[in-house]
């Protein structure tokens, strides 16, 4: 046992590259400004100021990310090696920022009703206080800084080069999301239930993530991913500490991306949360979580891949099948898309398992393509409304195509993209990950992937048939049109189409981003 001696002067001042960390710092800084606005600005001005601060913050961060990407060949570490600034990370961060901007259009929407979020979260549903807050037209503008904090955490999560930074980023991204889930304006009991479930399960899984980190620290003497990789090649990969650590860490990571057997939270949370927030979670959180999975398995555990591959094979197969099969019986449109998101998590894992450059670049492309389609689809869901809010039950969507052909047609297009029909981005993305998986020798995975795509196509097409070939309901839902939501839908549809018809530029971008792999 070595005694620890440390004099006060021995700790060097950390060197922090502010320029390279700027996108994250801008978003977190904008969130802090948002908190100040909440404290200092009069109530009437808060909405405008908060939206301005959020949009300016996200746009500035995105511009800086682009500048970092085209400046020099990005392959650096920052903050004493704790954060990696490299091609794949910048691609993921840029994707998260654009998708967050699109979701912000839905979150800031107030054409349908005062806000998609509750007027006052502290009031009990159905109480006189709640009615008063609704009549007074209150809006909970705290949601904007919360969203920005969550996006800040999402930006750090895939960039974290050591497991401690990754854990802190995980919590910075999750804690605001737990709160936001419980703040829906309508169906508040469902929303609060979703928040409790998400919170308890999320905290449970982060405890696993952390215990895994402790085991790997015990094995390697460091939580830095590169040093864990070095320790694995030096000491061999059959230490019980190492294997236990990898297993526990994977539980935490796979929970965040909603892979089976850790998928149980996803349908409940996606259904209960406000739809604008579901759009953010289904796109940005998934991108960030898969980014984190990629970094851990490509940098830290790459030399151990023969040991974790069988486990990940099983997880990927289970995820694809569970997502596709259980989705068939769903009657709520958000819940159905949640199961579809689980299945897509499985397709993404086939790209992760390939552990080669093609696997990385195809996963990046898939993430971007899927994110745009998802935000677009959830944006359509916010537009189709009943007297009681959004028309969640699928039976309410019957015959929508006859009354609102444009909206129903766009939704059908998104569903076809989820199913992976050619000329949509979904086809290109699936083709790319399956090709990479085949090159990596995972033929059985590809077969399961194609089979579960076929199963999934059934329930997507069922919705399309329901919308276009059944008689419209007499008291059917109306389509509430607004410029902001329509912009989100249009951008989603445009990108889905462009990535499907001329995918070469985006594929090339993903390839050049993945060219040098992750920095160590």
């Amino acid at each position: 046992m070595t005694p620890v001696y440390m004099a006060a002067g021995d700790i060097p001042t950390p060197h922090i590259e502010y320029g390279r960390l700027a996108p994250v710092l801008i978003v977190l800084g904008a969130a802090c400004v948002g908190v100040l606005v909440e404290a200092l600005a009069p109530r009437a001005q808060r909405y405008g100021l908060q939206v301005l601060v959020s949009v300016v913050g996200l746009v500035a961060a995105f511009a800086w990310t682009i500048a970092l990407g085209i400046g020099d060949q990005p392959h650096h570490v920052a903050a004493m090696g704790a954060v990696g600034v490299d091609g794949p990370t910048l691609f993921i961060q840029g994707t998260i920022l654009v998708l967050a901007l699109m979701s912000m259009l839905l979150i800031a929407e107030r054409r349908h009703e005062d806000s998609p979020f509750t007027a006052q979260a502290s009031t009990v549903p159905g109480s006189p206080e709640e009615r008063e807050s609704l009549v007074a037209g209150l809006v909970q503008t705290e949601i904007y800084p919360l969203v920005l904090f969550a996006v800040g955490g999402m930006l750090i999560f895939p960039a974290a080069n050591d497991l401690l930074t990754m854990f802190v980023a995980l919590e910075v991204m999750s804690l605001p999301l737990y709160l936001l889930c419980g703040l829906a304006r309508r169906r508040r009991l469902l929303s609060q239930e979703a928040a409790v479930k998400y919170f308890l399960l999320g905290a449970f899984s982060s405890a696993f993530f952390l215990y895994g980190t402790a085991m790997l620290y015990g094995f390697a003497g460091s939580v830095r991913l590169s040093e864990i990789a070095a320790a694995i090649s030096k000491q061999g990969g059959d230490e019980p500490l190492l294997l236990a650590g990898v297993a526990l860490l994977s539980v935490g990571l796979l929970f965040k991306m909603g892979a089976a057997p850790f998928q149980a939270w996803k349908p409940d949370v996606y259904q209960g949360a406000p739809t604008a927030l579901t759009a953010l979670m289904a796109s940005c959180t998934l991108v960030a979580a898969v980014g984190g999975v990629l970094r851990v398995f490509y940098v830290g555990l790459e030399t151990l891949r023969w040991d974790w591959r069988p486990m990940m094979w099983a997880v990927a197969i289970l995820t694809m099948l569970v997502g596709a099969i259980v989705a068939i019986t769903q009657t709520d449109v958000k819940r159905m898309l949640a199961y579809s998101s689980i299945a897509h998590g499985g397709f993404l894992l086939t790209g992760v398992i390939a552990t080669n450059k093609a696997g990385l670049s195809s996963t990046l492309f898939y993430l971007a393509a899927y994110g745009f389609t998802t935000v677009g689809a959830f944006a359509v869901i916010t537009m189709v409304r009943d007297a009681g809010g959004e028309a969640g039950h699928l039976s309410r969507w019957a015959g929508l195509g006859k009354r609102q052909p444009l909206v129903a047609g766009t939704f059908a297009f998104f569903l076809l993209a989820f199913a992976g029909i050619p000329l949509t981005s979904g086809f290109t993305g699936k083709f790319a990950v399956f090709q990479a998986a085949m090159a990596g020798g995972a033929m059985p995975l590809v077969i399961v992937g194609v089979v579960s795509s076929a199963i999934a196509a059934f329930f997507y097409v069922r919705v399309i048939v329901l919308m276009f070939f059944s008689e419209p309901l007499a008291d059917g839902p109306t389509v509430s049109f607004s410029p902001a939501t329509a912009t989100a839908v249009a951008v989603g549809a445009f990108v889905t189409l462009v990535l499907g018809v001329i995918p070469a530029p985006a594929l090339h971008l993903a390839q050049s981003a993945a060219n040098q792999l992750f920095v160590r």
């Binding site: 005694p3 979260a121 239930e193 402790a214």
Partner: protein, 98 residues
């Protein structure tokens, strides 16, 4: 010697994990999660002693801060659902299923 602390940490983690799975009250479930986090802290500190480095002890501080933040958010959420349902049992929150 540090091996004993690791065994204790594993025992605490397991108790916490089992508690999350079998207890019904949301507050108790949450307490069990906190127990798991503290078990992790014990493991970090023991490993730091074993490796003769300070990293593990510093990580324990980060974990404490994160756990404190989690308490704030968690109790807020549990309070909200308790006020609307007059119950903090996780079995009663059953509107969302299948």
């Amino acid at each position: 010697m540090t091996g004993h602390y690791l065994v204790l940490s594993a025992i605490l983690f397991t108790i916490g994990g089992i508690g999350v799975l079998i207890r019904r009250n949301a507050i108790v479930v949450f307490m069990c999660v906190e127990l798991m986090l503290n078990a992790t802290n014990l493991a970090f500190v023991s490993f730091a002693r074993m490796h003769g480095s300070l990293d593990g002890q510093i990580i324990a501080f980060f974990v404490m801060v994160v756990a404190a933040a989690e308490v704030v958010v968690g109790l807020a959420i549990i309070m909200t659902i308790f006020r609307s349902r007059k119950s903090s049992s996780v079995d009663d929150a059953n509107l969302l299923k299948y």
